[in-house]
């Protein structure tokens, strides 16, 4: 057993878990944060993507004990209260989801892609960066549009914050 101390969506968590507990299991089964999904178990599909200390990571292949001391953000912690993150808004506006199963991972990855490309994003870059996330419903067409639009909104938001 391991003692795991984490900040999850801003909340301090202290749990005793078996050594083999995966981060995704801790999130889903112990903390009830079922928005993070398991679609493959081999880190191929990306449905389990969360942010660990601000970086997108596939939580199906990370041990909970391994990330003790970290700050984890899941899809449930992305919005600020009732205000959706621009990436969430963009997925809705651009119909970037259908069944919704890959969506939390896509959104978390989308935020990470934008964060890592402050210079801006073109379609080719977005498609290449999305290689680790599989969607079977949308054909990616609208996901790519959503991320491009959110990148603009996030930049505009950052600018307006900086100006305050």
């Amino acid at each position: 057993m391991s003692e795991v101390k984490l900040t999850v969506n801003g909340r301090n968590i202290s749990k005793s878990v078996s050594d083999r507990t995966l981060l995704v299991e801790l999130l889903r089964e112990e903390l009830g944060l079922t928005g993070t999904h398991v679609g493959c178990d081999t880190s191929q599909c990306g449905a389990c993507t969360v942010h660990i200390d601000g970086n997108a990571v596939k939580s199906c292949t990370v041990l909970a004990a391994q990330v003790s001391g970290s700050s984890v953000t899941t899809i449930e912690g992305l919005a600020k209260g009732d205000t959706l993150h621009p990436m969430q808004e963009a997925f809705r506006t651009h119909h970037g989801l259908q069944c919704g199963f890959c969506t939390p991972g896509m959104i978390m990855m989308g935020v990470d892609i934008v964060n890592r490309h402050p210079e801006g994003l073109d379609e080719t870059t977005i498609r290449k960066e999305l290689e680790g996330n599989i969607c079977r419903c949308t054909g990616y067409h609208n996901i790519v549009k959503a991320i491009a639009a959110a990148a603009e909104d996030m930049r505009a938001g950052a600018t307006s914050l900086a100006a305050e």
Partner: protein, 786 residues
């Protein structure tokens, strides 16, 4: 139409929960005392099960129970069935072999369950599953199904030649006569590659048994929870229908693979009762690859006869369809009535004959996958048309135009009676959308860069909204294919729509609400859609075959007719007017030509206070419809694909792809475009990337995302879409259905484009870089020999 009515591009109501992680899928169900199930699965494609010893597993930490096949048989739970009975051409019935939940004697595909371990946690169950000692006696396996008769027998005594059914459709003698007098004959031989549906949510089941009530609740990843309950009750003896509640909550994609009843959910229901605790099983991805029903898997030889003017006079088709080790729930329908009935395509073909041999093999069961039979038919027809055009030295556009059906309704020689569309109009729009006039310049530019550019066409037609029930019953269906809807108007005027269809990504919560908003002028936010729970909705047939729009939507429209009629009677009574003079507009009921009006909610409240209703009228405002359409609907379209092939590597890049469809009336263009995008991705995936591979011993070589090439974002282009709206004359909304079109029309467009680029007629799917490179080398061979 109003801002939210039919035709409006409204963002989805259901998105709120999905984008915040608040969706609830089956694996998100956590019940008190819940335990985990893991299946022990066969590592052999064909083996006798000599013995199963669970004793060591039972001693492992956390293990609650181990269940084997004989336990389930002893409990009186029946075999799985195929629900569509067909006959061979000699009149003998199809040969359906026993399909046990866990066969205690023989395993017939890799991944077939042989035992079930129940433990406190999934990890403990996985550990214990490793400790179940199963002794197998491996046997030779049949995977080369085209040579079915010479292979090992899958079900001795039932089908000793591995043939399930030797089925035919059409007039063989007349078709042969057409060939005898043909000016040209074009022959083709092709394979439709086997696919894994790969819904992103793996299949899952949670079963809970309430001993005091003798009642079972099953949460499951189902496209049709009512059919699941019916089959589990009536055929498998899992629980009586009124003592079984099936809930299909949020479902993460289906594509056909979640239509069927599988061994695992039956076993979970049995296990929950046996251990007295809720039992959850969720597939991992490799289990999904091994056990979700696969799709397609045909080999076909066909020939098409033409007269001297290049008009088609006959089409003769021989297909062998692999159904795998067992007959899945609708497996017999897919390569027969869903395939051969579409072999006329968009063309006026006077004589068609199809012979389809359905065979067993030692592979995962095969059943309907997105499009189901129609992609296979379209691939054959459109590859044949392309090959014919090249043989004749004609433009493939001209050959198609010469043969397009232009008079409707059109009776084909293979059962279908097509309702109106405009095939020339679809081709015109597609040519404009891809800038066909600019193609030669683009090709020349590619050649300057040393690249090969090709263009490929595909003009598909499909049959959606399969019905009427009487007709499908006469063809062997075990169920009716109507749909139900119930409209519950609450006293405050909000409206609940209960549908027997099921949404697993198709956006029903939005589009169905739009139908209601369109009719009454109430805001969509006042409408909620209820589906997926057999305790809430009385009955329905679920969602597949693009039936939610034409059949499910039709049922809603019919129920709304009844609500509207009653609301008008109440309003007329309250305003002392004639019901015929009441108009509903913008959420108000008005007396035409006067300023008298009542708000929608005032009439609803009056229906429930019942203080002042017309003489003899029952209180309340709730109506139901069971809608059984008069005919299928026939969406159609023309897709054009433009590719660039690198001759040095064989890598194909899709540089332009346009899809122009006639889906009839469109309820929400945004949703319809999304459906087309997804279908195109699956069709392009089949053409370029996806293929399920078994080795000679029946091992599944493509059992993970590291081995099976799923289309990723950088494998696909952005698509160009357009549409025509020729209303369907037979259903109340004029809709035709859109969910499968992309998967049906895309594969031939892509393969026709690549073969055009590299100058061959012979290229099998998936057109991987290696295959394309080899094809390029073989086309060079004669030149090298000169």
């Amino acid at each position: 139409m109003g801002a939210e009515g039919i035709g409006a591009r409204v963002v989805r109501k259901e998105d709120g929960r999905f984008i915040t992680g608040a969706g609830q899928y089956t694996d998100d169900v956590f019940e008190r005392q819940m335990c985990a199930a893991v299946f022990v699965r066969s590592p052999h494609a064909h083996a006798k099960v000599v013995s199963i010893d669970p004793s060591a597993a039972k001693e492992m930490p956390g293990v609650i129970d181990v269940i084997v096949g004989q336990d389930i048989i002893d409990a009186g739970i029946g075999n799985l069935i195929c629900g569509w009975a067909i006959q061979s051409k000699d009149g003998t019935p199809m040969k359906m072999a026993p399909y046990n939940v866990m066969d205690p004697g023989t395993v017939r595909y890799v991944g077939q369950p042989v035992a079930m371990v129940i433990a406190e946690t999934r990890a403990e169950a996985e550990d214990a599953a490793e400790a179940v000692d199963v002794e197998y006696d491996p046997q030779p396996a049949l995977t080369d199904f085209a040579n079915y008769a010479s292979g090992p027998v899958v079900h001795p005594g039932t089908a000793d030649d591995n043939m399930i059914c030797d089925w035919q459709l059409g007039d063989e003698a007349a078709t042969d006569a057409a060939f005898a007098s043909a000016a040209h004959v074009v022959e083709i031989s092709l394979r439709n590659n086997r696919l894994v549906p790969n819904a992103m949510e793996p299949r899952s089941a949670v079963a809970q048994f309430n001993r005091a009530e003798d009642h079972t609740t099953l949460w499951t990843t189902s496209q049709n929870p009512h059919v699941a309950r019916l089959v589990l009750s009536a055929f498998y003896n899992v629980a009586p229908e009124h003592k079984l509640r099936v809930i299909a909550p949020d479902v993460g994609g289906g594509f056909g693979s979640k239509i069927y009843i599988y061994p695992e959910e039956i076993a979970c229901c049995y296990a929950a009762k046996r251990v007295g605790r809720p039992v959850k099983w969720t597939a991992d991805r490799t289990e999904a690859f091994m056990t979700d029903a696969h799709g397609r898997d045909h080999v076909t030889k066909a020939k098409m006869a033409f007269d001297a003017d290049h008009r088609i006079t006959g089409f003769k088709v021989d297909t062998i369809a692999n159904l795998g080790a067992y007959m899945s729930l609708f497996s017999s329908a897919t390569p027969t009535y869903l395939y051969a009935t579409l072999l006329s395509g968009q063309y006026d073909i006077p004589n068609i004959y199809a012979n389809v041999k359905l065979v067993y093999s030692h592979t995962t069961p095969v059943d309907a996958y997105r499009g189901a039979g129609r992609p296979e038919a379209t691939f054959l027809v459109e590859r044949t048309m392309e090959t014919a055009a090249r043989q004749f030295g004609m433009s493939p556009i001209e050959l198609r135009r010469k043969n397009f059906i232009t008079q409707f309704p059109h009776q084909t020689p293979v059962l279908m009676n097509y309702d109106p569309s405009d095939f020339h109009g679809l081709m015109d729009k597609a040519l404009a959308a891809i800038d066909f006039d600019g193609y030669p310049a683009r090709k020349a530019e590619s050649e300057r860069r040393g690249m090969l550019r090709g263009i490929g066409f595909s003009s598909y037609i499909e049959a959606c909204g399969i019905a009427p029930s009487q007709a499908v019953g006469s063809l062997g269906a075990g169920v009716g294919l109507w749909e139900s809807a119930e409209i519950r108007v609450n006293p405050v005027g909000t409206i609940e729509v209960l549908s027997g269809c099921h949404s697993h990504g198709q956006s029903h919560e939005t589009t169905y609400a739009q139908i209601v908003a369109h009719r009454f002028g109430v805001p969509m936010s006042n409408v909620s859609i209820v589906h997926g729970d057999t305790d809430k909705v009385q009955f329905g047939m679920g969602t597949y075959g693009s039936r939610s729009g034409p059949v499910g939507g039709g049922a809603i429209a019919k129920a709304l007719d009844k609500v509207e009629a009653k609301a008008k009677l109440i309003a007329a009574h309250l305003m002392e007017a004639d019901a015929g003079d009441i108009e509903i507009e913008g959420g108000e009921l008005k007396v035409a030509g006067t300023d008298k009006k009542l708000a929608w909610h005032e009439v609803c409240l009056a229906a429930y206070t019942a203080h002042n209703l017309p003489e003899g009228m029952e209180p309340g405002l709730k109506e139901t419809s069971f809608y059984d359409p008069a005919n299928f609907t026939f969406p159609a379209g023309t897709f054009i694909c433009e590719v660039e092939v690198d001759p040095n590597t064989g890598v194909t890049t899709i540089v332009n792809f346009v899809a122009v469809d006639d889906f009839g009336i469109i309820i929400n263009p945004m949703v319809v475009e999304g459906q087309v995008h997804g279908g195109l991705a699956q069709g392009i995936g089949q053409a370029l990337l996806e293929g399920c591979v078994y080795d000679d011993e029946g091992q599944l070589l493509t059992a993970s995302y590291m081995d099976y090439a799923m289309p990723r974002a950088d494998d696909l282009p952005s698509f160009g879409l357009d549409h025509l709206e020729v209303p369907n004359p037979n259903n109340p909304l004029g809709v035709k259905g859109c969910g499968e079109a992309g998967a049906i029309g895309a594969p031939p467009a892509v393969i026709n484009a690549i073969t055009d680029a590299i100058g061959t007629n012979d290229l099998q799917m998936p057109a991987t870089p290696e295959k394309v490179w080899r094809a390029i080398q073989s086309t060079k061979m004669p030149m090298a020999a000169e």
